[in-house]
Symmetry: C2
Subunit: 118 residues, 2 copies
DNA sequence: GCGATACTTCATGAATTGTTGAAGTATGGA
DNA sequence: TCCATACTTCAACAATTCATGAAGTATCGC
């Protein structure tokens, strides 16, 4: 991922409503949520919502697909992943022990089920 | 980390020079870099740089410490970590297999040295 | 085809942000 | 104390971004 793309994604996320939309979609997962449902959930006008979703889509963070009259938006998890990688790039500087905690806490979102050490 | 803090951090990073500064400091690690050196490295006026660094510092992403006449800036890795966690929060939605690749690729920045498979 | 629903696009005005020059503060050396 | 270096702060202008109302496009059921 290049600098411009990263900047576009960060700018897209750096706004109250859009960050809320993104987090809602992250929680919703690959199934996604219809534009209208997002608008209602966040109490936003449909046209405003549409503009916000366009920004997120142009940044590559979400993808739109039509389903009947609705348009379903879902997070592009690989794009999200690429952004995290970009931000942590070369964070080691030859010292993995420094950035290891960063990765560890990010991984905490998904505790492995089988070996749950207290 | 709350929504406002995350928003402040994303806004701080969502700007060309500041993203460059941040990445430079990520690479530099805990030792940090003097404000003047950052300004020279990125070919930016000292006062402009000062304003940018202030934004990053107010967002909590970097910390400043004085060393003689210089002021050294360094990334606050725990703040950076908290932001990544915030963005990936509840990304599982009960399905770790979805967000696992996200974490895995972020972790790729720090390949474990001892067991280098492949 | 017609009307209703679901969203998007466009144009406008208000607010926020970024850069610059000038002036100010802090440290170190003579 | 005096000067130079290293940064920061202030004030002001230019550029970008955001929300809104009005109008437009696509789909569905009748």
């Amino acid at each position: 991922m290049d600098n411009d793309a990263a900047l576009k994604r960060l700018s897209a996320l750096a706004q109250d409503s859009r960050l809320a939309i993104f987090r809602l979609l992250v929680k919703a997962g690959p199934a996604g949520v219809a534009a209208g449902d997002i608008a209602r959930a966040l109490d936003t006008a449909p046209n405003t919502m549409s503009a916000q979703l366009l920004v997120l889509a142009n940044a590559g963070l979400v993808r739109a697909r039509r389903a009947g009259r609705s348009i379903i938006y879902a997070v592009d998890f690989s794009a999200m992943s690429a952004l995290l990688v970009f931000l942590t790039e070369d964070c080691c500087g030859g010292r993995p022990e420094i950035c290891a905690p960063v990765i560890a806490s990010a991984a905490a979102c998904c505790p492995p089920r089988k070996s749950r050490r207290a």
